[in-house]
Symmetry: C2
Subunit: 125 residues, 2 copies
C-alpha cells in the first residue's frame, strides 16, 4: 500500500504528466486517493476535476488518453509524477501539445507553437 499525503492540501495533490519519450511536461492536474488508485489499476491517467468535482479519466471525451509508463512520487509523498504516452499527441484542451504553451518573455506572454486540433471539433460534436 502506497501512502500519499493528501491531508496537507485538503484531499488533493498535484500530479504532473510528462511525456515518457521526450521529457516534455504536458500538464498538471490533481488527484484524490480514488484517482490515484484508478491510475494504478487501469494504467490510464485519471485525475480529479476540481471544476466538475468528479473523477476524470483524461481523454474520455477527446480520446487523448494518457497511457502511464512510469509513476514516481516525491520525497514527502505529496506530488505524483506520471511519465506517459500521450495518445493523439495533444494533452491540452486547447489543442496544444502541452498546456505550458505560454512563455513569459520581457514581462508579457508569448504563445509557443500551434494547436494540433481544433477544440470546437473535438469537444462540441
Amino acid at each position: 500500500m502506497i501512502e500519499l499525503d493528501f491531508k496537507k492540501s485538503g484531499g488533493l495533490i498535484p500530479a504532473i504528466a510528462q511525456d515518457y519519450a521526450t521529457g516534455e511536461i504536458l500538464m498538471l492536474a490533481y488527484m484524490n486517493q480514488e484517482a490515484f488508485e484508478a491510475t494504478l489499476s487501469t494504467g490510464n491517467a485519471t485525475y480529479y476535476s476540481r471544476s466538475r468535482q468528479a473523477l476524470w479519466v483524461k481523454g474520455e471525451t477527446s480520446g487523448n488518453v494518457q497511457q502511464v509508463r512510469e509513476i514516481r512520487i516525491d520525497c514527502d509523498n505529496d506530488t505524483v509524477l506520471l511519465k506517459v504516452d500521450q495518445i493523439g499527441g495533444a494533452a491540452c484542451h486547447t489543442g496544444h501539445r502541452s498546456c505550458f504553451y505560454k512563455l513569459i518573455e520581457n514581462g508579457s506572454i508569448r504563445v509557443i507553437g500551434n494547436p494540433l486540433f481544433d477544440p470546437e471539433e473535438v469537444y462540441n460534436r
Copy 2:
C-alpha cells in the same frame, strides 16, 4: 502585468522546476504572488513555504539555488513551469538530484539513485 489565477486554490499555485538542459523534473513547490514576482525580478526560483509560511528563496540555506532560464505558465494560468539551472546538482533536501526519486513498481516504492550530498552536513552546520 501577468495575471495568474491564485484564487482557485487559496492563494498558492504549484510551480514545477525542470532542469533546463535535460528536461528532468526536479521538484514541485508553491508560489504566491510575491514569490512569483520575486522569481521574475531576481532570476532565482523563489517559492512560498507552506510549512514555514514564508517566502523561500530555493537554496538560501544549502546554496543550491535555481537560476531560472525560462518561465512558462499553463493554459488556465494556475500553474508555473520554471526551466532552471540547478546549482550544486541537487534540488531535493534529501540530497537527491530530483525530489522524484521514488519509483512505484509492482505496488511498492523503489528508491532510484543516490543522494549527491549528505543533508546533515548541508543543513545542520
